[in-house]
Amino acid sequence: MDLNSINEFLAAAIRMSAPLMIVGAGALFTERTGVFNIGLEGTMLVGCMAAVYFSLQTGNLWLATLGAMFVGGLFGLVHAFLTITRRADQIVAGAAINLFALGITNLLNGPLYAGYEYRPRVTLYPVIAPEALQNLPILGPILFAQPVIVYFAFIIPILATWILYRTTWGLAIRAVGDHPHAVATAGLSVYALKYIGVITSGVFAGLGGAALTLADLGLFAPGMTNGRGFAVLAAFVVGKWNPILVAAACILFGSADALQLRAQTIQLAIPYQVFVMLPYLLTIAALAGLVGRTVGPKTVGKPYDPESI
C-alpha cells in the first residue's frame, strides 16, 4: 500500500463512520437514562428519507437537515411515550418502530420520487477546508477533504462528553439510568429527563440519516441503512457507554467496512469476510468480558415506576 491508497482508505473509513458516530453520540442519552432504543435503525431510515424529501421540497440543505432531525425527534417522542409513559417493553416498542419505519419508507418511496424518471441527486454538504489543508498527509483526507457534516461527527461526541460529565444536567441524566429514585428524591423529574434522553436519540438518529444521504450520495433507496442503526447498538457495548469510546468503536466499524471493500480488490491473504465479521467478533468479545468489564446503565430496559421501590 502506497501513501495514496492509505490516504484514500482513511478518507473512506471516516466517511463511512461519520453517520454511525452521530447516531451513537445521540443514542448515549437514551441509554444513559435507562431506555433501550433499538428503533434507531428505523429512525435513521426515516431520517434518510426526510432529508431527501425536505431537500427536494425546499432546495435548502440546512432545512433538509433540520427536517431530518425533526422527523427523527418525532420517532423518539413515540418511543418515549410508549416506554416511559405507557411503560411498554422497550425491545418490543423499538422493534415496532423499526417495522413501521420500513413499511412507511417503502410506501412513500414512490411518492417521494413521483414525477422523476430517475432519482435526481440533491445538494450535498460542502467541503469547506482550504485546498492546502486538504492536501496534508493523513490529517487532510481524514478531516479536511471531508464534507462539513464530518466535523459534526467529531464535535458531537466531544460535546456529549462535556454535557454528560461536566454539567449538572448531565449528572442527572447519568443518575436517572442508575438510580432513578434518588433523582426523584432530589426533586428532579425522572420522566422529563427520560423523555429528553429518548427524544435526543431520535433527533441524532435523524441527523445520522441526513449524514448518510446528504454527505456524498444525495439520494434515497428503500432499506438503505442496512443495519447501521444496529451496528451503533453494538458500538455501545464495545465503547462501554462512554461517548469518546463509542465514537472510536464506530470509527472501528466504519474502517472495517472500508477495509473489506478494498480487501476484495487487492490480493490479501485474509479473506474479506473476516473484515465483515470483525465488528461483531469484537462485540462478542466485549460481551464475553475479553476487553474489560462492560456494564451498561443499571436500570436500562426497565420501566420507571415512581411507586415501586
Binding site: S5, V92, N106, L107, D216, L217, A221
Partner: protein, 328 residues
C-alpha cells in the same frame, strides 16, 4: 393484559395495516373483465424501487394492454409469505401466476404441483414442473457486451465490477464481463467487488470509489436500486460507468457510456402473454424481442460503437456464442 402491552399491540396492528397497505391488488375482479385471461404476479420488493421490481411491474402493465389481460400483483412478498401468496392467487382462480425472481423457484414448484391445471411462470430461475414456464435473464450476454465496451473505452487497461451478492448468476456476469473485456486486442485487468446488499447505495458508492482508487476507469455492475450509488461515484470521480437493464444515462450524464440492456419487464411480459410454452425454460437473450442489447451514449466514438455493435450482430447470427453459466 396491561395497558402498556395493549398500546404495543395497537402499534403493531397499525404497522401491519400500513405494511399491508403496500400491497394493493392492482385490479379487483370485475364483471366486465370476464373472459380476459387473469394473470397475477408477485414481486420480492416494492414496485417503486426504480429497479428490478419496478421494471418487472412495468412489464406486467405493458402485457395487460398488449395482450388484453386482467392483472393483479402483490409486492414485498418475502420468503415467509411466498407460498401463502401464491396459493391465494391460485385459489382465487387466476389463470397464470408469475413470480418475479429466482428466489421463488421452490415455492413455484410446490404450488404448481398442487394446482396442475393452472399455468405458472418463473422469472430468472429454473422452474420445475410440466405447468411451469421460466425465463432467465442473459447476464452472460449482457455482461460480455459490457466488457467489450469497457475494453474499448478504458485508458488505464483496468476496469471494475460491483455485484450485489456472490450468487451463481452474478458470478457468471462477472466472469463474462472479464471475457468480454479481452476482446479489443489488449489485456485488461478486471477487479470484482461484492457489496453484500442490493439496495445499500452508500456501499455501492464506496465500492466504486475503492475500484477507482485501485486504477479502474470503467465500472459495470449487477445491482438493484443501489446502482445510483455506483454511478454517482463514477460521475463524481470523472470515470466511466455502464448501466444495467435499461438506459441509465440520466443517473450520470457525464459518466454513463452505455447500458447492458435486458429489461426484467420483458421476461414478465413474455410469460404473462403466454409466449413461453408450459414446461419450457428459455433465456432472455439477443433473440428475444426487446431482449439483450447494448445501448451506447454519445460519449462513445462512432468507430467503437460499430465495433461493439458488431459483437452483438455476431451473437444474433450465431457466429459468436458466449458461455451459458448453468443451463436454465
Amino acid at each position: 393484559m396491561s395497558k402498556s402491552m395493549k398500546i404495543v399491540f395497537v402499534l403493531i396492528a397499525v404497522t401491519t395495516v400500513i405494511l399491508a397497505g403496500c400491497q394493493p391488488a392492482a385490479a379487483p375482479a370485475t364483471e366486465e373483465a370476464a373472459g380476459k385471461t387473469k394473470v397475477a404476479a408477485v414481486f420480492p420488493g416494492v414496485v417503486t424501487d426504480q429497479s428490478w421490481n419496478q421494471f418487472g411491474y412495468e412489464g406486467l402493465q405493458k402485457a395487460e394492454t398488449d395482450c388484453s389481460l386482467e392483472t393483479a400483483y402483490t409486492e414485498s412478498v418475502t420468503q415467509d409469505k411466498q407460498l401463502e401468496t401464491l396459493r391465494n392467487y391460485a385459489a382465487e382462480g387466476y389463470d397464470i401466476i408469475l413470480a418475479h425472481g429466482g428466489e421463488y423457484a421452490d415455492s413455484i414448484k410446490t404450488v404448481a404441483a398442487e394446482y396442475p391445471d393452472l399455468w405458472f411462470g418463473l422469472v430468472n430461475g429454473a422452474g420445475e414442473g410440466p405447468n411451469v414456464s421460466s425465463m432467465i435473464i442473459g447476464y452472460n450476454q449482457m455482461s460480455y457486451l459490457a466488457g467489450a465496451l469497457a475494453c474499448n473505452m478504458t485508458k488505464t487497461d483496468h476496469i471494475g465490477f460491483v455485484g450485489g451478492e456472490s450468487i451463481p448468476v452474478v458470478d457468471a456476469g462477472a466472469e463474462l464481463y472479464k471475457e468480454g473485456a479481452q476482446t479489443c486486442g489488449k489485456e485488461v485487468q478486471v477487479d470484482v467487488v461484492y457489496t453484500g446488499d442490493w439496495a445499500d447505495v452508500t456501499k455501492a458508492r464506496e465500492s466504486g470509489l475503492s475500484l477507482i482508487a485501485g486504477g479502474s476507469d470503467v465500472l459495470y455492475h449487477i445491482l438493484d436500486t443501489a446502482d445510483a450509488g455506483l454511478i454517482a461515484a463514477a460521475e463524481d470521480e470523472g470515470v466511466y460507468a455502464i448501466g444495467l437493464y435499461r438506459d441509465s444515462s440520466a443517473l450520470g450524464p457525464k459518466a454513463v457510456i452505455g447500458s447492458a440492456m435486458g429489461h426484467p419487464g420483458t421476461m414478465i411480459y413474455q410469460l404473462a402473454c403466454g409466449k413461453v410454452p408450459q414446461g419450457e425454460k428459455t433465456w432472455l437473450d439477443v433473440h428475444t424481442p426487446d431482449g439483450v442489447n447494448i445501448h451506447m451514449t454519445d460519449l462513445v466514438p462512432a468507430d467503437i460503437q460499430a465495433k461493439v455493435k458488431a459483437i452483438w450482430d455476431e451473437m444474433v447470427s450465431g457466429e459468436l456464442t458466449v458461455k451459458n453459466m448453468g443451463e436454465p
